[in-house]
Structures are given as structure tokens and as C-alpha cells.
């Protein structure tokens, strides 16, 4: 029996890749840390919960699930299972529901995107979360949180989450958008038609519910006051709310994913390049087929032009939402927390001097030394210090891929024992 290809992530990219790999005759093990398939975009609701997916989205997902089901036992799915990493010998650790040490034939990292969230005073308060975090909860539960919600930051996800909150009967008190997406009316013209349809659906829902969309407006600080959150906008307006959801764009979620020389490790979908759902499915298919060809010594398939189209569309979206993030960072108060894990502030960063080395940032400053190992502060530290430090830096390969419970490590079934190396 041959070793399976390990696919990490049961979203569009991961399952598309799995279907292609299995179609080529390879056994595939798909793991996902969540309890449901779908990744961030197609996260499946709990049984009996209201689905937020559109008919077109439902069709796309059920088509993909049918392709996966058609491969029968060649694809094994393990949910609530985390990928701990792969070492230089090719041994991978899984923890959670499936807890084993084994040597996969290859690894596909299809972890999706992670959100970029700019530090702000008060961004560590309970009740403040990322817009993506709120959205996954909406999709899972089919219900809005109790209380008033403010959405702030920048990017189309804010409109999507705003529209979904509205659909669930709890429109946000406002959407603060730092960019000026409606100020350049000619730029969106080049966007693909499906982007327009999606944006129109969100905007019409928000407008019907009279949700204020305040562009060129930043959320400058959040305070906890008498059981509520007080959010200050750059316009001078204050919002008293119960939840604040922040979002400043998406990045590939491959931070610290280890390299391995002894087996192929490929990144697919948003984990390779954050291009959104449409691109993730195409990339998963193409990348899965290419990996299968590589493993079986066959000719690689040719590239799908759809990916280039989505790359252009995402670049155009970025232009539409462009705004001066550097100025926002430079205007942060000194006591703003930069490293959330260890509560290290901008002032702590400044005391390290203008050009700290990566070691100084970590050892002297304790930046990126906490449990998340720089996954949330790394980008900002690189921008707040000189370019010199970002290079060997904070984003250097981290191992393991995520914190590993010692108990999980010790209880894992070791399927590598007795193998020669």
C-alpha cells in the first residue's frame, strides 16, 4: 500500500486538489482543523442552521463535493485534525481527532488566507475580532451575535460581512472603510462581471438597510467603557457598540510553514497567493493535477488562463482600495500593542533602535516570541523597523507549524517506527 498524499485544508483549493490527485490514482488524506468542510469561503452551517450561501455558491460547492465523492475510498477526510508540521526527514505530525506521526508521499498546503489586521489602540480588547472570524461564525451558526456591530478597516470583505449581518437581521451600525473605493469610478470597470454582481448584491442589501458606509475613514482607537466598546473614527465620530470586527486585507496563510527537501510540499489556493475563492478552486485543480503528474512521472498539464484573469482582477481590487497604511502606522500612539501574545508595544519596539537585528527583536524585544510566533505582528514589525530587519527576520521558517501539545506529541501513533531512513 502506498503512502497517501497529505492535503491540509478542506476548502476549495484543498478538495479540488484532492479530487485531481485521487483521479490520477493516488491515495489522499485530507485533514482540516475545523469540524466542517468548506474552508473560510464555503464553511458549512451546523445542521438546521440558516445557510448564507447563494444558489450559485451552493452549486459550486455541491459540484466539488460530488467530484470528491466520486473518488470513493481513495480520499480519506479527517476533520478536527491539525497539521503540526513536517520535519527534515519527511515525518508529518497530525494532532486532534487523527493523531499520528507518518511519512506522506507529498504534502499539499491549502490553508487558505489569513487576515491582515493593522494594530490599533484597543485591538486586543475582548469583543474585538477579525471580520473573517465573525464571518465564519455567521456561516456556521446562521445567526448574528447579540448587540451592535461595527465593521472597520479596508477591503471588500467588510461589505460582505456587513451584508451577511444584514441578511441575518442585525445590520452593522456602520462600515468604516479607510480607502476610497467609490472615488475612482473608472477603475472597477475592468473587473470581471461576477465581481460586479457580488458587489451589487452586498451594496444593495446594505443600502436598503441604511447602513452607513463611511469611506476615507479610519478607526483610530477602541476603548472599553461600562461593558461596551467605544470606537473613535478619524472623522471625529464615536460609535458605542458591543462588537468590533477589523479587517485590513488578506495574505497567504503559509507563515512559518516549514520547508522539506525529502518530499514535495506545494502550496495551493490562497495559501500560495491570496486571490480569492474563484482562483482557489482553479489553483487547487491545476496544482493537484500537476502534483499528480510529478509523482507519477507524467507530463504536467498546461496552465489554466482563468488564474491570470483572477490575478489581474485582484490587482485591480487592490488599486480600488489603496490607501496610505504607512501613515496610519506612523501615527500610532507609543503605547499601542504590536505583539498581541506578549503585549509588546510600539514603544518597546522603538527602544531597540532604528535597525534591530532579528535576534535583537526576538531576544531583547520579545517580539514574535509568544505563542503565535509573529503570525500577527511580523508584517507590522517589518514595516515599522528598517527594511534590513525584515529580511532574515521575524518571518523566517518557524517550526513547528503551530503550537503542539506535549500530550498530543506523546500520544500520536508512530507509523515511522522501524522504517530505515
Amino acid at each position: 500500500m502506498s503512502d497517501p498524499v497529505l492535503v491540509v485544508g478542506a476548502g476549495l483549493a484543498g478538495l479540488s486538489a484532492a479530487a485531481e490527485l485521487a483521479r490520477a490514482g493516488l491515495p489522499v488524506l485530507v485533514v482540516d482543523q475545523a469540524q466542517a468542510v468548506g474552508g473560510a469561503f464555503h464553511r458549512q452551517p451546523l445542521q438546521g442552521a440558516l445557510s448564507l450561501a447563494t444558489a450559485a455558491q451552493d452549486r459550486r460547492w455541491s459540484d466539488l463535493m460530488a467530484k470528491v465523492a466520486a473518488q470513493g475510498s481513495r480520499i480519506t477526510l479527517a476533520l478536527a485534525t491539525q497539521f503540526g508540521g513536517v520535519d527534515h526527514k519527511g515525518t508529518a505530525l497530525l494532532t486532534g481527532r487523527m493523531n499520528r506521526l507518518f511519512r506522506p508521499r507529498a504534502i499539499v498546503l491549502a490553508l487558505g488566507a489569513r487576515e491582515s489586521v493593522r494594530p490599533r489602540p484597543g485591538w486586543t480588547l475582548p469583543g474585538v475580532e477579525t471580520a473573517g472570524s465573525l464571518q465564519i461564525r455567521l456561516k456556521t451558526l446562521g445567526e448574528a451575535p447579540q448587540g451592535r456591530v461595527l465593521l472597520a478597516g479596508s477591503g471588500p470583505l467588510l461589505l460582505a460581512v456587513g451584508a451577511q449581518l444584514t441578511k441575518l437581521g442585525s445590520p452593522p451600525v456602520a462600515i468604516l472603510e479607510a480607502g476610497r473605493p467609490f472615488a475612482r469610478p473608472l477603475t472597477p470597470i475592468g473587473l470581471p462581471r461576477d465581481y460586479w454582481i457580488e458587489a451589487a448584491a452586498y451594496l444593495s442589501r446594505l443600502m436598503l438597510a441604511r447602513v452607513p458606509i463611511l469611506t476615507n475613514t479610519r478607526l483610530t482607537a477602541i476603548r472599553a467603557e461600562g461593558g461596551t466598546l467605544v470606537a473613535e473614527a478619524s472623522s471625529g465620530r464615536r460609535f458605542i457598540v458591543d462588537h468590533v470586527a477589523l479587517h485590513d486585507g488578506i495574505r497567504p496563510n503559509d507563515f512559518g510553514m516549514p520547508a522539506c527537501d525529502v518530499l514535495p510540499v506545494v502550496r495551493l489556493g490562497d495559501c500560495r497567493e491570496a486571490l480569492g475563492a474563484r482562483a482557489a478552486m482553479v489553483d487547487g485543480q491545476m496544482g493537484g493535477a500537476a502534483l499528480a503528474a510529478r509523482l507519477l512521472g507524467r507530463t504536467a498539464p498546461s496552465a489554466d488562463p482563468e488564474l491570470a484573469r483572477q490575478t489581474r482582477a485582484q490587482a485591480r481590487l487592490a488599486r480600488i482600495y489603496a490607501h496610505d497604511v504607512t501613515a496610519e502606522l506612523n501615527n500610532l500612539p507609543e503605547d499601542t500593542v504590536i505583539c498581541r501574545c506578549e503585549a509588546r508595544t510600539l514603544k518597546d519596539l522603538r527602544t531597540l533602535g532604528p535597525t534591530p537585528t532579528a535576534r535583537q527583536l526576538r531576544l531583547d524585544g520579545r517580539f514574535a516570541m509568544g505563542a503565535c510566533q509573529g503570525r500577527f505582528c511580523g508584517d507590522w514589525i517589518a514595516r515599522l523597523t528598517s527594511a534590513e530587519t525584515s529580511k532574515p527576520g521575524i518571518g523566517a521558517p518557524r517550526w513547528p507549524a503551530r503550537p503542539i501539545a506535549v500530550a498530543d506529541l506523546l500520544s500520536a501513533t508512530d507509523e515511522t517506527e522501524g522504517e530505515t531512513q
Binding site: 520535519d87 516549514p258 505563542a371 513547528p400 506535549v406 506529541l409 508512530d414
Partner: protein, 386 residues
């Protein structure tokens, strides 16, 4: 050429040894530059557990020098030089099974022979320390050792006036002439009366024939918990044997558990012949963790948040290289500590400063220091510098 910057002494390497040398020279009034390819504590010093340990030293000259250095480190700390970097704390060595119990007997004999600052204050069952588990058959408690994280000591030493930091700046080479030494950097040359090389594993870039090789040790960092649960480092006898004799003499995992002030634990360590700081593996992690949990059961509730390999500079005869380059009074070496640099740095800094000033070594340690001279590799010297 006359425009070249001139320093009394240039120290190559901003690890703990180079930093101590720089501090001692600057304190004696010399104008000093410290050059590093990356920055302060960028290699072994910044990846160490910070144990100022005599117990882990090879019996003989090294253990005696470590003992003298520990005393001197305490002196520097009490003067405020290493304040905040050095802390006295107890240390614990444990064993299980005949071979390890024998190794503990040898440790007690070694410390008695030195009759130095480290005392055995407890020797018996694990019950001496409430947090220990069934993996500890016999526990030796030592008083007198301490903890000094490498990066903190480096920062303390280099903050002295009179030291010019130069990094990131790899050294491309050097020339010696009658009046001094020229050090070549990528974009400029520096002149100095004396060059001290404290480059660790990078020593062979300037001195290719010295028998120094990288010896990696995997280290694992846990998440935070309540601090103070373990009052000092907990070392398996197998680790001492692996360090002072050879890896794998004893079949048991060579565990060192080091409690950090943050409430985290740093757990090591293997001895492997490579130089890749990112090369770690689940099999080693599991082997070390299984034993660690049996010795300190509270670790079963922790998570490993980070793993890496510290790269020690090892010499073919497992002893450091300290002294003037044979036949060259203007170039001095201090390298090859293989993890012992934290403990030896204070003494080595003082003695190298004396060498640079043309003074004889301190009497009490002169004979032991002489055994570490690079002259022992004179054949290699003839090949390289003949």
C-alpha cells in the same frame, strides 16, 4: 591608506566571548571595535539555555577553569557589570538506572576534587523537589551555579563606553604586517594593533585549518505557565556523559530542562554534526519529551511553540581554543567552546585582555589555560600559515 579607521583592538564576533573580551579591553582604556556578520548574540550565544554550569564540564582543566570563571562571573555581577544578566540559582542533576547513577557518583567526585564554588547540597530520592516524577531515581542538588542568558550578557557587556559596534559586516580576510593588522570588510578596511577572533563556528572562514566543526543541538521552547515551578535547571546524567565523553555512550535521552523567567521551559538537547539551525525532527522531540515528562510531569500540560537547533562550535579534541596564534602576537583566538562559552566567557575575556596587553595569564589558572592554546594544532598551523 592613511584614511583607514584605526582601533587599538578589533574583536571579530559579537557573541558572549567577543563581548566579554571587548568589555575587558574597553575597561582598560583601549579603543575597541566589535565586528559581526549579523549582529549581537546572533549564533550560539543567542540560542543557548544560559546555564553557567561547572557540573557539565569535562573533568580536569576545563572544569577548573569553569569553576574560576563562575567565581569571577559572580564578582562581575556584584559590581553591576552583569546585573540583570546573571542570577544565582540552584541546579539539579538526575539519573535513573545503573549507568546514570554511576555518572552521578563521578559528578560528585569531580566537584569534590575541584573544591570550588559549586557544592552538593542534596543527594537522594526525587522527593527533594515536589514537582518531580517517577523518571527521577536519584537527584543531586547543586548550589552555587547560575543562569545567564547569552543575549542579556552580550547586551550588558557591549553597552560599555569605548566599544564601537560594526554590523552587519562579514569579515572577508585580514593581513598582518609589522605594525598591525588590516581587517577587510566588503566596503572598507580597518586597521588595528590587535585582532581577537571569537567567531565560533565561523572561525574556519578566517582560519580554515583549525579543526572546528558545527555541532547542532535541538532546542524546544514551551508556552508560558505559572513561573517558579522548577527553581533551577534539571539535567539528566546522560546529558553530562554525552557532553563530557561522547554522544550515545548512554542509551537514555540527554535531557536538559531549563526554566525561563517567563514561566516557559527550554528543553534540549541533542548533539548532531551539522550547521542547520532549522533542522529539527519529531523523533528527537518525542524522545526528549518522553523523558522530560517522566522527570517533570507538569510538562504534559504544556505546548511546544518553537523548535530550533543551536549550533555549537566544537573542536576535534572537545576543548576550546584560547590563546595567541602561534608565532603571531597580534592575533588571538577564543573559540570552540561547544556550549561552554556562557560559563567561561567572563574568565576568557579577562585573560584575553591580558594577552592583548602583553601580560602573563593570572597565576592560579595559567597552567590550565596553557592546555587550551592553539599551539596544540601546530601541524595544522604549518599547513595553513607556514
Amino acid at each position: 591608506m592613511s584614511a583607514e579607521t584605526h582601533y587599538d583592538v578589533i574583536i571579530a564576533g559579537a557573541g558572549i566571548v567577543g563581548a566579554s573580551v571587548a568589555w575587558h579591553l574597553a575597561a582598560s582604556g583601549a579603543r575597541v571595535a566589535v565586528i559581526d556578520a549579523i549582529g549581537p548574540a546572533a549564533a550560539a550565544s543567542g540560542a543557548s539555555d544560559g546555564a553557567v554550569s561547572v557540573a557539565s564540564k569535562k573533568p580536569g582543566p576545563l572544569a577548573r577553569l569553569a569553576s574560576a570563571s563562575l567565581l569571577y562571573t559572580r564578582e562581575l555581577a556584584s559590581q553591576g557589570v552583569l546585573a540583570g544578566a546573571f542570577h544565582a540559582r540552584p541546579s539539579f542533576v538526575f539519573g535513573q538506572g545503573e549507568a546514570e547513577l554511576a555518572a552521578l557518583d563521578a559528578l560528585v567526585a569531580k566537584l569534590r576534587a575541584i573544591s570550588g564554588p559549586v557544592h552538593v547540597t542534596g543527594d537522594g530520592p526525587a522527593a527533594q523537589l515536589a514537582c518531580l516524577g517517577p523518571g527521577v531515581e536519584r537527584l543531586i542538588t547543586l548550589n552555587g551555579e547560575g543562569h545567564m542568558p547569552g543575549h542579556k550578557a552580550v547586551r550588558a557587556y557591549l553597552s560599555a563606553p569605548g566599544i564601537t559596534p560594526i554590523w552587519p559586516a562579514p569579515i572577508h580576510g585580514f593581513d598582518i604586517d609589522d605594525r598591525g593588522v588590516t581587517v577587510h570588510l566588503a566596503d572598507r578596511r580597518l586597521r588595528t594593533g590587535h585582532l581577537v577572533s571569537a567567531l565560533g563556528t565561523a572561525t574556519t572562514e578566517l582560519f580554515p585549518t583549525l579543526p572546528i566543526m558545527p555541532r547542532a543541538g535541538q532546542l524546544f521552547v514551551t508556552d508560558r505557565g505559572a513561573p517558579g515551578l522548577l527553581p533551577g535547571s534539571l539535567t539528566a546524567a546522560a546529558y553530562l556523559v554525552a557532553k563530557t565523553e561522547a554522544p550515545d555512550v548512554l542509551p537514555l535521552p540527554p535531557v536538559v530542562i531549563d526554566p525561563l523567567t517567563t514561566g516557559q521551559f527550554l528543553i534540549g538537547s541533542s548533539r548532531e554534526n551539522h550547521a542547520d539551525p532549522n533542522r529539527v525532527d519529531f523523533s528527537t522531540l518525542r524522545r526528549l519529551m518522553e523523558r522530560s515528562v517522566r522527570a517533570l510531569p507538569l510538562l504534559a500540560e504544556r505546548r511546544v511553540i518553537r523548535a530550533f537547533a543551536g549550533i555549537r562550535a566544537a573542536v576535534s579534541d572537545s576543548l576550546p581554543i584560547i590563546g595567541n596564534l602561534p608565532g603571531e602576537t597580534r592575533v588571538t583566538l577564543a573559540t570552540g567552546f561547544e556550549g561552554d562559552g556562557i560559563c567561561l566567557s567572563a574568565l576568557v575575556g579577562r585573560e584575553i585582555a591580558r594577552m592583548v596587553h602583553g601580560l602573563p595569564p593570572t597565576d592560579s589558572i595559567a597552567a590550565d589555560l596553557a592546555t587550551l592554546s592553539p599551539a596544540r594544532f601546530v601541524d595544522a598551523r604549518q599547513e595553513a600559515w607556514g
